[in-house]
């Protein structure tokens, strides 16, 4: 399944990005710098989506002691850290021509930085224990604690006066012109499939590593 998802993901992502970067019209206020949106918005969406996925897994691990759920958290966390870094990096570079600064301690940017630190913290915490079952449990608790940051990221632009603009796409509609919205939606779908395929690969690696002495792994490999 992994190669098919990867193929769908990369093809869709390339269509979205080429459409957005080369064919979408120039923005009347931001000029061509807005073309970073086709990377920044999908990355920001999945930075949070991956954490939501991890929190569901953490709940499953804490409540039902599902071992696989902890494995999935450990596999998803590096991908979450990577995509959050891309969201922060692309936002910073976009800020230079748009805001005149690459960094501002405003609520949206700071809460996203906290999300990135949470991902690194989860990975560090798990890596600091030799007892892996105990590490799984503590990691799940930390993931649950970190969920409080997600509504803060989402609502930060409404609760505080921030330099970051409010959401352009919501359930009630979109303030983006269809000629820009379509490639953006395609990019979101494409990045989603790409990250799911990376997630499958990453979980395969972690399960093999963790269960390498088990009989079923020896038979599988």
């Amino acid at each position: 399944m992994y190669p098919y998802l990867l193929f769908i993901g990369i093809t869709t992502l390339m269509i979205g990005w080429i459409w957005g970067v080369l064919y979408a019209p120039e923005d009347f206020q931001q000029g061509n710098s807005y073309r970073i949106i086709f990377l920044h918005v999908p990355a920001s969406i999945f930075a949070q989506t991956i954490y939501y996925f991890m929190s569901i897994c953490a709940l499953m691990h804490i409540v039902w002691r599902v071992k696989l759920a902890a494995y999935l958290i450990k596999s998803a966390a590096p991908i979450g850290a990577m995509i959050t870094f891309i969201a922060l990096f692309s936002g910073s570079i976009w800020g230079i021509p748009t805001w005149g600064t690459w960094w501002q301690w405003d609520a949206r940017i700071t809460s996203t930085l906290i999300l990135f630190i949470m991902y690194l913290g989860i990975l560090t915490l798990h890596g600091s224990f030799s007892n892996l079952e105990k590490a799984d449990r503590l990691m799940s608790i930390l993931v649950i604690v970190g969920v409080v940051n997600l509504p803060i990221i989402k609502k930060s632009v409404d609760w505080w006066s921030t330099l970051h603009q409010p959401a352009s796409i919501s359930t009630s509609g979109s303030s983006i012109d269809p000629s820009m919205l379509m490639p953006l939606l395609i990019s979101i779908v494409g990045l989603g499939f790409t990250l799911i395929s990376l997630g499958i690969l990453s979980s395969r690696l972690y399960i093999l590593n963790r269960e390498k002495n088990k009989k079923w792994v020896l038979e599988h490999v």
Binding site: L6, L22, G31, N32, I36, P78, I93, P178, L201, V221
Partner: protein
């Protein structure tokens, strides 16, 4: 909607002065994503090799 927004290759690269930001972001991000896949695949290959060696040596 399907007309290219630029007339020349130079315009695509420069994007009226914003090309440096746009291309920098896309190239670094693509590099990070490609590296993530490559490193993960390499690590899977290595661990499979190690498991097979351990398996063969009993």
């Amino acid at each position: 909607m399907f007309d290219i927004a630029f007339n020349t290759f130079d315009e695509i690269i420069n994007m009226k002065g914003h090309g440096i930001y746009v291309w920098l972001v896309y190239s670094i991000s693509i590099l990070i994503i490609v590296l993530s896949f490559t490193i993960t695949r390499m690590r899977i290959k290595n661990i499979c090799k190690r498991i097979n060696i351990n398996n063969a040596s009993g």
